[in-house]
Symmetry: C2
């Protein structure tokens, strides 16, 4: 019954053993993930500078108040720009440094939301006047779209921008409480300027719909808020998330701006107040698609962090079921643990690769847009909507699954995953609420479906890459009611099943357009997106040819695990459409899903010895992970102990609460007992 080993010391023994036991070349797989050694080295250099800089120390982060987190975020930002100067970083290197910091900084809104929108949609006059100031951050910008009363439905935004021909100005105004801009990142306390989305009102009273206006918010002399604008921070976020960002509100009271401040890249108002329509209204979607495309890569690396932390902890945590030598079992060896963690690892690999493909496709489209070519826009829109939903939904879930797999200690702030979860959580509702975006994915799928079948001769040639799964409706394949383990080990099987399932569910949905059930959009969107990703995974597996064989074999298994667990997640569809069927028709005692589940288990067990190598290949340092349970050397108990010693409550032995309250609670009891005794 007594332990035969030192529990603490065993942690690093187990970690070293796991590290040695991995068969892959961590360096080669890492270079593959970073798309070449150069990128890895570039990142590594920056990480090394930041993690040794005392300004970026993380050891007290979990103890800071929100105001302190906000102030620290700006100190970080300031220091990054100092370092940019010192190290002569390029803008890309500076942005990489910012992204490495793992903090939702206000400057991110300037870089990702404000600057691109301004540069793409401001006309040449405005760009000439302010572009260089924005690039140099003399102007700190924010992007004011969402209002207290409206988010998703942009056409109902209430803020007005009324053209005043007499003075050639626009008057920005918030007519109601609910027209207050709300949730605007960097607005609360930081930004000096903003791009405001407002309803353009023409002199004849006509409402020309939402347009963008460049508005100064604060003085560049002393940072005071300009007259007739009310600005503030909207308060803390749920779960203490996004603490460093000053999401803010703003109300405008008849604020005048020059006519030239309308972002006129895609629409204009003449001096007389006549509205000139944009030639390509959709050109303005570029920025949104850019953000969504980037979310796939970002989500991939975030999931990678969760996989690294949780797999490391599960490797060194031992609990229950003694093995023959008196050692407890490493929890990673429990099916209920590895079955949760290895699929997370597989999604990290998949999303990181998918992000690269998507960024390439985005750049091609953006090049086209510059020339007025909008032909790739619809496809990119459909794809990025589906992937935005998919990466954020599964990312949030994976972060929590990983945290939960660590049992009690996973709930410590020092475990590090709660922090990532809190900051990533809004991704399911921002940049298009996932449940609303689902409709767009479905609409696009139905459009392809109807295009195909409204043709005289439906043919594969009519299908775009993202809808090519519909080819299975032209000539329907026959499917065996169940698949052998060998068939399931072939990635082609899973890809085929996922495409077939998408085709059938879209077909079914199209048949019942008038009489839908309540969750159909979510199911169709998921199926369609998974079919698209499956096709992409086919390309990823083909691309592994660049790796050495032993690495290729392992990484192929990682992708296969992604495919098979995706199949498992779609079993209801596969079964309800009869793609999978109970083996003995009419019998009720045979589980037709057993083969796939056993194949997944088998695959997990083959990957188990590689798990530490596969996570090491992400290349995260301890400073980046900032997790007591995910430390590289495995010494998790020492790390937890050391973290706890820094807790502010531990600075004094007797807490202030003793004099304030505890003493009175105890004393009241004492008095009662004394009174009771004296009655005896």
């Amino acid at each position: 019954m007594s332990p035969q080993y030192d529990v603490n010391e065993q942690t690093w023994i187990d970690m070293a053993r796991a590290r040695n036991g991995s068969s892959i070349s961590v360096e080669n797989v890492r270079d593959f993930l970073y798309h070449g050694r150069q990128e890895w080295l570039a990142r590594s250099r920056i990480v090394s500078i930041l993690e040794h800089d005392p300004v970026f120390d993380k050891s007290n982060r979990d103890f800071l108040s929100r105001t302190e987190r906000y102030e620290r975020g700006l100190a970080f930002t300031n220091h990054i720009f100092e370092l940019q100067h010192v190290h002569n970083w390029s803008e890309d290197e500076t942005k990489l440094a910012i992204s490495v910091l793992d903090e939702p900084l206000s400057i991110g809104l300037h870089n990702i939301a404000f600057q691109p929108v301004f540069m793409q949609q401001a006309g040449p006059v405005l760009v000439k006047k302010y572009g260089h100031l924005i690039a140099a951050r003399t102007i700190f910008g924010c992007y004011l779209q969402t209002e207290l009363g409206h988010g998703t439905n942009v056409s109902r935004l209430e803020t007005t921008a009324t053209f005043v021909p007499a003075t050639q100005e626009f008057e920005i105004h918030s007519p109601t409480l609910t027209s207050s801009k709300w949730w605007i990142g960097a607005l609360g306390k930081t930004a000096t300027h903003g791009v405001v989305q407002a309803k353009l009102v023409l002199p004849d009273g006509k409402d020309a719909g939402p347009h963008l206006f460049f508005v100064q918010l604060r003085s560049l002399d002393d940072h005071s808020v300009l007259p007739n604008i009310t600005i503030g921070d909207i308060g803390p976020k749920a779960l203490a998330g996004f603490a460093p960002t000053d999401n803010g509100f703003a109300r405008f009271n008849h604020v005048r701006i020059p006519k030239e401040n309308m972002l006129s890249g895609f629409a204009q108002v003449t001096d007389e107040g006549e509205y000139l329509k944009p030639p390509h209204a959709k050109l303005s979607y570029g920025g949104m698609l850019y953000i969504r495309a980037n979310m796939v890569t970002g989500g991939g690396w975030l999931i990678a962090k969760a996989a690294t932390v949780s797999i490391r902890y599960a490797t060194v945590r031992r609990q229950g079921e003694s093995t023959s030598n008196g050692f407890e079992k490493q929890i990673i060896n429990y099916p209920s643990v590895y079955y949760r963690l290895l699929p997370i690892l597989s999604r990290a690999y998949m999303f990181i690769q998918l992000g690269r493909t998507l960024t390439k496709a985005f750049n091609t489209m953006a090049e086209g847009l510059k020339k007025g070519d909008t032909s790739l826009l619809a496809e990119m829109h459909a794809t990025t909507s589906g992937l935005k939903i998919y990466v954020s939904t599964s990312g949030v879930q994976d972060l929590e699954t990983a945290r939960r797999s660590m049992g009690g200690h996973g709930y410590s702030a020092f475990a590090g995953l709660g922090r990532l979860y809190a900051d990533y959580l809004p991704s399911v509702t921002y940049e298009g609420d996932n449940f609303v975006l689902d409709q767009q994915v479905v609409r696009s799928a139905l459009k392809s479906y109807h295009q195909l079948f409204s043709a005289k001769t439906p043919s594969v040639a009519l299908l775009s890459p993202s809808s090519s799964y519909l080819r299975f409706l032209i000539s329907r394949p026959s499917v065996a009611p169940s698949l052998s383990a060998q068939e399931l080990r072939d990635p082609a099987t899973a890809i085929y099943l996922l495409e077939l399932r998408a085709a059938l569910i879209v077909h079914e949905h199209a048949q019942h357009a008038a009489d839908q059930d309540a969750s159909v959009n979510q199911r169709v969107s998921k199926a369609v997106t998974e079919a698209f990703i499956a096709m992409q995974v086919r390309g990823m597996i083909d691309g592994l040819i660049a790796l050495q064989e032993k690495d290729r074999v392992v990484v192929t298994k990682v992708f296969l695990l992604f495919l098979l667990t995706t199949i498992e997640g779609g079993l209801v569809d596969l079964l309800s459409f009869g793609i999978f069927r109970p083996l003995e028709p009419g019998s009720v005692a045979t589980d037709s899903t057993r083969a796939i589940r056993l194949t997944i288990k088998q695959l997990c067990e083959e990957l188990l010895p590689e798990a530490i190598g596969l996570t090491d290949a992400f290349g995260f340092t301890d400073w980046e992970l900032d997790s007591a349970l995910g430390v590289h050397n495995g010494k998790v108990y020492e790390a937890l102990w050391n973290c706890a010693q820094r807790e502010p409550l531990n600075k004094t032995t007797i807490p202030a609460a003793y004099e304030q309250s505890i003493k009175h609670i105890l004393g009241r009891g004492k008095a009662a007992v004394f009174a009771a005794q004296s009655k005896l």
Copy 2:
């Protein structure tokens, strides 16, 4: 395109209309939920006292640091006891007041973990000496079980209690870093005494396994930590959860306690150091079962809060898809919203009722235990394990689903659900990690299965209530491949399907004991628990006879919605075992799950007009909910605005960060621009 209404004003119009539109008697349904008007009035009286007391003001809670939350928690506790004296509350009323506060207070550990364990397991000598001090809280206690290196596997705890015959003492010792007690609620800064779980070591060196010892931790004179004990707080929790609780660590360095301080209710050591086995080792499980049984009721009311807040917000939030009169649609009317929220409401109703049944069953068992009757223990153990898993897993998920349904604003701390989530999250890993507990549920199910089939003639008489679903394996019923809407509207159908599915999955599992897949324990545990709950729901529906007919009809639909969505969640099993089958064998184009999904949608639409009434019936006040989005009058935008004005960052116009950082960031840009211009 312009809105035809005042968005802000419309909120309370919509809320009033929804409230008037409900057909049920809110008072009668509320009395039903509270099991009678008396209980409602008793609670109501206490809520009214607390919410009007300035000490319990919640308006600044989201801005407080963790230390402030801890101190506030103790100030609350102190004031509750002051009020107990003022209002002459009974112990039950005082506990109700504490539970109403909606804060994870350190006193909770004294009340729920420390005191019951002490009173049940300390021998008469110890109880006589300390029982009254504990009851009067002259002693503030905690329960020290979990260690840094061990949680679930109690038999491996490393803390030792070595008997020293010469002095008739035990020596409590932490031999290693990993033997440090960890996570102990109220230990960090508050508790004066604790019950320590330690490995009993006898004079002959024999390890008699974990036992409990009563140990003083801090001086009652000045609250200083006693010699040779190292105590501290373990630091903040993930997502800023459980902030008021001082979860702590403790290391003991050869600390001596009198022999009488061993909790000897169920085991003893003679003066000579001989170990006397407990007559009924399992008697000590009572406390754990009590906590688990209470978790069902607690979870039910918590889910009720999430349902109230989210349904209220969805009723007044309008967005998208204009209706004919120019109004946007109330988001509750979108299928993707009500399909998420109404099942949450149904689970709240179910768990609240189930909690009552369970508490009754627990009390019956506890009465038996006092007389040494352990016959009900195994059944209670199996049941409470499954229900603990089920309520915590679905509760955490429901809180997040409700929060997410509120879109962007749901991520504000002021929405209130993030706070509930953060505090409830550890319930899936504490009191038995859900993934570990699953094994116990499965083990118990298999035991019943083998008992049944090892009998000469398997018969229903062999089955306990919690395993009665196995009767379907004795005579297997035939099942129609699909069910009509009418059949699905009969609760008996769903109950039957859930029991049948549990029987088949247990049977299947028993056939493959040697070759299990990786998630089988989770699936079997869920199926078995859902069968048990389904049976209970049958009783709940029968019990509705006490309600007036119009209320009964509505509440029956609530329970039916629970059953049908549970069926929907179990579709993979129902399909893979062939209970449901595609309508046309061999075809791949017909979804056999359509009927059930449409029935759910239909049921939701029937319940929609009742949703506000059904949530009002929970009886929460605005102070209890503390949610800007869940306010009773529906004025959510005004509430959000008012909350934001209190944000500490808004106390000054120009933040400290301006001088510290922002100025430098902007200035550096200015300098660069100036330098570039002067080069021209």
